[in-house]
Amino acid sequence: MGAGHAHVLYRDRSSPVHRLPPEVKITAMVVFTVAVVATPREAFWAFGGHAILITLVAALARIGPGWLATRALIEVPFVVFAFALPFLGSGDRVHWLGLELSVDGLYGGWNILAKGTLGVLASLVLAGTTTTRDLLLGLDRLRCPQIVTQIATFMLRYLDVLVGEARRMRIARVSRGDDPRFLWQLRGFAAGIGALFLRAFERGERVYLAMVARGYQGRMPDVRRGAGAAGLRHWLAAATVPLAATGVATAAAVLG
């Protein structure tokens, strides 16, 4: 059976960052990201400040730069556009290595790249120090609508089951001589996706029936919400980073 790895991004370490309650880490990450986004794009030094903050937290959490850098590659498809901007932008132009680049486009590309990277790094530090389970608990404590946390909980639990089913179906298909290497051979794969959807749908119904049979009436009992919730001490500790980032952003805006 697919004994899956539920913690794809979680780095199992012991650190002050790991021990913080999830809700304060989520809040800190969101506020930090907002501060980064609000920073004027011309203030290059401010982004350096934000980067130092992230580096400090990552070091405190004993997360290596190599791990962060490889995982941050996930942003590449999203920031590809940033590299096109200097060529597509209008207005003043500069010449560099024989290329004619738009000044406005350069700023725009830098803006997307810097803010995107810092945001991804902040999310990675959060994901690396908090289990998926705790993230959901934190969202629940922050009064995130239960429907969202419930859907995510189900996804967490049944992703492995679904992946396992897809794998077994693929093995059964390949065992009967299916070898989809070209686009026009994808018929079996497409039919498999349909069958997988039906299976997931039917399983959803069975899971729901089993929940109803144990007295489920549309709301999850909030058993875990209270235990281990954040105290003032935790909030103050976690507030240092977003406050510093907000300070940097404000200074950058005031100084221009």
Partner: protein
Amino acid sequence: MIGYVDRVPAADVTSADGSVSAGVPSLDVRGLHYSYPDGHVALRGVDLVVPRGGRVALLGPNGAGKTTLVLHLNGILSGGGGTVTVGGLTVTRDRATLAEIRRRVGIVFQDPDDQLFLPTVAEDVAFGPANLGLRGAELESRVTEALDAVGMTEHRDRAPQHLSFGQRRRVAVATVLAMRPEILVLDEPSSNLDPAARRELAAILRRLPVTMLMVTHDLPYALELCDRAVILDAGRIVADGATAELLADAELLARHRLELPYGFDPALAARQLAAHQGGMVR
């Protein structure tokens, strides 16, 4: 005996004090009919009484209506005519009644992956009793008690998908035991288990002090765990008697698409079982 806590309005219960007296059967099904919305008739008048502490195997071929009957026992399906009464409380559409019925009827579904949907074993076992309103230490003791009963206490903080299939089925049993049911309903408990897991589960089920209705077409398992058996075919109960006697009637079994495993001698197995149980009593 597993404890019996009552939270029903007294008016809904036959006895005035809210408890179920010894004479009231755990399960009393009368004239149950059901047709699916597509017109397929699944149940055509089912009558079944399971006394308190009884152990009954519900046998029948695929498509006989076994699962449909099970889904009627706690009111998930209803409305086709007939009544289901659990420990004196009749299933209605009333919310409070349904909540109590679902506490009293503990259904263990066939696929433990359908039953175990929360990230850890302990959380899943706590789900049922938490729906009953239990919190804190009381909830914790329910979880421990149920996991103890199936020998899974040491795995309480593990994720269900990291357990073996047999362990997951045992946890699924614990999730309903935690609600202290009046009757435990097992849907194909031995399916997909390897022989060792099958035997371990049998040992656990034999020890549980609850009324049990076991839906299966694993006939040796029925013989091992239930002294009485009923055969459901085409939506009707067509036979009801001692499991050993039903299994010895080859013609009856053949008529209802039930078959013993190759080489299995029900008479010999029944004698061995009787000798074994006699030995355990001594």
